[in-house]
């Protein structure tokens, strides 16, 4: 991945979980966090869309339905750039482990599903550092939507992709939009060597697999402190 400047030296590990809404990735990343901490690793957790810098603009844009596919994409890229600067790179440089609930692949999947140019959005995020492992929690569309719809009273406008005019019914629109996002994830899986996890398996069964892969990352490399 090219960078706007050369990649900074980093010692820590960056582990990413990806998947559509309702894939179970957040549950898995929290369990992974517990395990890594129990092992004595210093871990920092970061979530998609959580920087202060563009929070107001994002909120305002969403509330008033001001966002277009390109401004939606650029606001998220700005958010990501801010978090990369303050929440990811310093921790990696300090030799810590960073767990990211969603990374650039979420942007690729959603933005392409919204209709932006795939090459454009990849160039846009070329400043990102490549992760050490990406877990992709794959579930059939019906499973994921059933999980989301059973726990939410209301689907939000952009979450349902209502801005695309796929359907006037939020639930129907949500299904269509998530279907597109799922297709993009599947397309990216080989390109970025995702570790594909079967999200329909038991929670602890999946977690054992995740831990086995992550454990190897620590075993194969010398300890983070020994640079």
């Amino acid at each position: 991945m090219k960078s706007t400047k050369r990649n900074p030296p980093r010692k820590g590990k960056l582990i990413v979980v990806e998947g559509i809404d309702g894939s179970g990735k957040s549950t898995q990343v929290q369990l992974l966090l517990k395990w890594l901490e129990a092992r004595g690793e210093q871990v920092f957790f970061t979530e998609w869309n959580s920087s202060e810098l563009v929070r107001q603009a994002t909120k305002r844009g969403k509330r008033k339905n001001l966002l277009t596919p390109s401004t939606f994409s650029l606001l998220h890229a700005t958010d990501f750039a801010d978090r990369l600067t303050y929440h990811i790179l310093p921790y990696l440089k300090a030799g810590m482990t960073v767990l990211a609930d969603r990374y650039i692949y979420t942007a690729f999947a959603r933005d392409i599903a919204r209709g932006v140019d795939p090459r454009w959005v990849r160039d846009l995020y070329s400043f990102a550092v490549p992760p050490d492992a990406v877990f992709y929690f794959r579930v059939p569309l019906e499973v994921a939507t059933a999980r989301i719809l059973s726990t939410r009273s209301k689907i939000k406008f952009y979450e349902a992709g209502m801005d695309l005019g796929l359907s006037n019914d939020p639930v129907e629109s949500f299904k269509l939009f998530q279907g597109r996002v799922l297709k993009e994830y599947d397309r990216m899986a080989p390109e970025y060597q995702f570790k594909v996890m079967d999200g329909t398996r038991s929670i602890d069964g999946q977690q054992q697999k995740v831990r086995a892969v992550v454990g190897k990352l620590y075993d194969s490399a010398p300890a983070a402190e020994a640079s």
């Binding site: 090219k2 960078s3 706007t4 400047k5 810098l53 563009v54 107001q56 603009a57 305002r60 844009g61 001001l66 966002l67 277009t68 596919p69 390109s70 401004t71 650029l74 606001l75 890229a77 700005t78 750039a81 801010d82 990369l84 600067t85 209709g115 932006v116 140019d117 090459r119 454009w120 160039d123 846009l124 070329s126 400043f127």
Partner: protein, 277 residues
């Protein structure tokens, strides 16, 4: 129908969901560094165009509905880095492009942009961004019909800015840590920016205008350029509409076959009507 001689195009990969073939308006941009006198020239040009009956829409840097507050707050807080600085501008630009510029061009307005993507390129590149990266980020921008570049040297610029207003943190590039003295920092930063604008003038074919001239003299040159562009576009539009009606004007009325008496191969161009009737 003949396509336009210079069809409207995107700078890079563009917005796949936004068709720009029907944008009939004219996009004119004014570029140049801080304090060079762009806004004055835009105001005078707008008035002049309106007197002639042109519909004019003005758009200015960081004035988008979506981003203006956020950019203001971020600048006040001095907590931007090269990446977020570039991306906030790009977001503001995209919002104005899709909400103001494209709809106005579709309705046939003259759009005057006080700064355009080239300002983002200059500011990002002097802060260390990869020139290729920042250009690809703005791939969704429309290529303007005219870029008027107010060209100045730093020695003329400094007293002009000092007379007009205070030295501003960002206009002095204080975030770049070029020195603790705002005056020295301003000079160094503006010199870098001006060099970047001059380099882009060659890369993108700006029309350079000497910004050290009096305001009226500059405006005269601005108007001459804009007049030439609008006339050229009018002639082109006229030619295009002529093309579409040419068959009606110059081709004789297609001969109707009378009672089966068909003149053999008289007109190769007109397809023979299927025999019947």
């Amino acid at each position: 129908m003949t396509p336009a001689a210079k069809p409207r195009r995107y700078f890079g990969h563009g917005l796949p969901y936004c068709d720009i073939r029907d944008l009939t308006g004219t996009l004119i941009t004014l570029e140049g560094t801080d304090g060079v006198g762009r806004s004055t020239q835009v105001r005078l040009l707008k008035g002049w165009l309106e007197v002639q009956g042109y519909g004019v829409i003005e758009t200015g840097w960081t004035r988008s509905e979506l981003m203006s507050e956020t950019i203001g707050a971020a600048k006040a807080g001095h907590n931007l880095n090269q990446l977020t600085f570039s991306l906030l501008y790009a977001t503001d630009f995209a919002d104005r492009l899709e909400k103001i510029v494209i709809p106005a061009l579709r309705s046939g307005f003259v759009v005057l942009a006080d700064r355009y993507m080239y300002t983002a390129f200059a500011r990002s590149v002097v802060r260390g961004a990869d020139p290729g990266w920042i250009r690809s980020v703005f791939g969704f921008a429309l290529v303007p019909d005219l870029v008027l570049h107010l060209k100045i040297d730093v020695d003329t610029l400094v007293p002009r800015v000092l007379r007009g207003r205070r030295m501003d943190y960002w206009e002095s590039g204080m975030d770049m840590h070029l020195g603790s003295d705002p005056y020295e920092s301003f000079r160094k930063y503006q010199r870098k920016l001006i060099r970047e604008y001059n380099r882009m003038s060659r890369e993108f074919g700006f029309v350079d205008l000497d910004a050290t001239l009096p305001i009226d003299a500059i405006q005269e040159k601005v108007r001459a350029r804009v007049k030439a562009l609008l006339e050229e576009r009018k002639i082109r539009a006229l030619t295009e509409s002529l093309e579409t009606i040419r068959p009606l004007l110059f081709d004789p009325e297609p001969e109707k076959p009378r009672g089966g008496l068909e003149t053999a191969g008289a007109r190769g161009s007109t397809p023979a009507p299927s025999s019947g009737g």
